[in-house]
């Protein structure tokens, strides 16, 4: 990657970061959604702490991935609406790099806050404290995968009518492996077993998606 492409990637990333800081409502909405869903489970399940700990891994993963989906339809939609997408497409950056910057921006402004909120949600679901670290690691990898797949989904559904409905339908089935291995890792940790194999599988998923999803998203990006 030459210097100007890297500089362009940093410029797009810096702009995403600044916009998220000035308008924290998207990030806050995702974090609140995540915490609220985790808070709803105890009401539905009733006062049986041991049932929670069984439910906690899957509930955490599902809540986090749904929360991370929330800002995705604005990822390219907001840029297309105000004409910025045209300028980004004419920025001279390869479209795959542009999509990679957007995916990384989404992870930094949505995934990372969700990871930070994981202990709160984990406490409400009565997850053993020993498993919190693994839960945060699993969520870090799972949200990274969702950011990558979600960027692809956002690029594909850009300009489609009802794109906001189409996007989860397209992305969530692809995120099933993240739920399976993420939940398995947290479960292993709360049972006192090693979570490493599951985290490594999740990491493998992220490292496959990291180059492929932005390339595909870049090819799908078009504004007409």
């Amino acid at each position: 990657m030459n210097a100007s492409v890297f500089g362009g990637l940093l410029a797009v990333l810096g702009r995403e970061w600044k916009l998220a800081l000035r308008h924290p409502s998207d990030t806050l909405a995702a974090v609140l959604f995540f915490v609220l869903v985790a808070a709803l489970f105890p009401f539905g399940v009733g006062p049986a702490p041991e049932t929670f700990s069984r439910l906690a891994p899957g509930a955490l993963l599902a809540a986090a991935l749904l929360a991370a989906l929330l800002p995705l339809d604005r990822l390219f939609g907001a840029e297309a609406e105000d004409g910025s997408l045209d300028q980004l497409l004419l920025s001279g950056l390869p479209r795959g790099v542009l999509a990679a910057a957007k995916a990384l921006g989404h992870w930094l402004t949505t995934g990372v806050p969700l990871i930070a909120a994981t202990p709160i949600a984990a406490a409400m679901l009565n997850l053993p404290v020993e498993a919190w670290g693994v839960a945060m690691a699993a969520l870090a990898l799972a949200t990274a995968l969702l950011s990558l797949l979600g960027t692809l989904g956002a690029a594909l559904t850009l300009g489609a009518r009802r794109g906001g409905v189409l996007l989860p339908l397209l992305v969530l089935p692809l995120a099933i492996p993240a739920v399976i291995f993420g939940a398995a890792a947290i479960e292993a940790a709360s049972a006192g077993l090693s979570a490493a194999p599951f985290l490594l599988l999740l990491g493998a998923g992220v490292s496959i998606a990291a180059p492929l999803a932005p390339l595909a998203a870049g090819a799908a990006l078009q504004n007409d």
Partner: protein, 202 residues
């Protein structure tokens, strides 16, 4: 670049949107220092033509050569040799005027402050984009023209919403660009300060 070679050479260009043919067999050139005004009724295809030349819309036929190089072989390189000011201002309300332009300066090179001052926005640099008026937003979009120089400007209704003084500033900017060997293709309904511009009616 060979002497006398046009900056922009459009050959037999065609564009189809949906099932409708917007234009076909369109050929023209714009030489260095030249300007071409695109006129025509609403929906005549002025904006589509600009977008096809910019590489944002696929051409249904024909080709676009910028300084002799076909647009289709290197889209990223083609994009870097032109500036496109669309009818949308591409401005983020949460960022200040200077930050909005600084983002494009980081991508393309060039200085923010002189580009803002060329359109009389120097005093507004630290204001957030959301408080700008329509004309000020337009001027901020046009300020992108003052960043690192390129050979071709594609302008879609550049003077829409501008006051008389700002139109004059835009005129100065365009005159300097042409004097430096640049070319301009502008779609407009309003009279633009472009002396000796040829006109293409779509």
């Amino acid at each position: 670049m060979a002497a006398g070679q046009p900056i922009l050479d459009v050959r037999e260009l065609a564009c189809i949107r949906g099932d409708r043919e917007i234009f076909a067999g369109l050929s023209f050139t714009v030489p260095a220092g030249g300007a071409l005004l695109l006129t025509g009724a609403n929906g005549a295809g002025k904006s589509s033509l600009l977008r096809v030349i910019a590489g944002l819309l696929p051409a249904a036929g024909g080709e676009v050569l910028l300084e002799g190089a076909p647009a289709s072989t290197d889209p990223a390189g083609h994009a870097l040799r032109l500036r496109y000011i669309s009818s949308q201002d591409a401005l983020k309300p949460a960022l200040t005027v200077a930050e909005n332009l600084a983002f494009y300066a980081a991508l393309w090179g060039g200085q923010v402050t002189p580009a803002l001052e060329a359109l009389g926005l120097g005093a507004l640099a630290s204001l957030p984009g959301r408080v700008l008026s329509t004309g000020q937003r337009r001027r901020l979009a046009l300020a992108r023209l003052g960043l690192a120089p390129v050979r071709l400007w594609l302008l879609d209704e550049p003077s829409l919403g501008l006051d008389v003084a700002s139109v004059a500033r835009l005129g100065d900017l365009m005159a300097r660009h042409r004097a430096g060997g640049g070319a301009i293709l502008a779609a407009t309904h309003l009279p633009l300060p472009l002396p000796d511009a040829r006109e293409l009616k779509l």
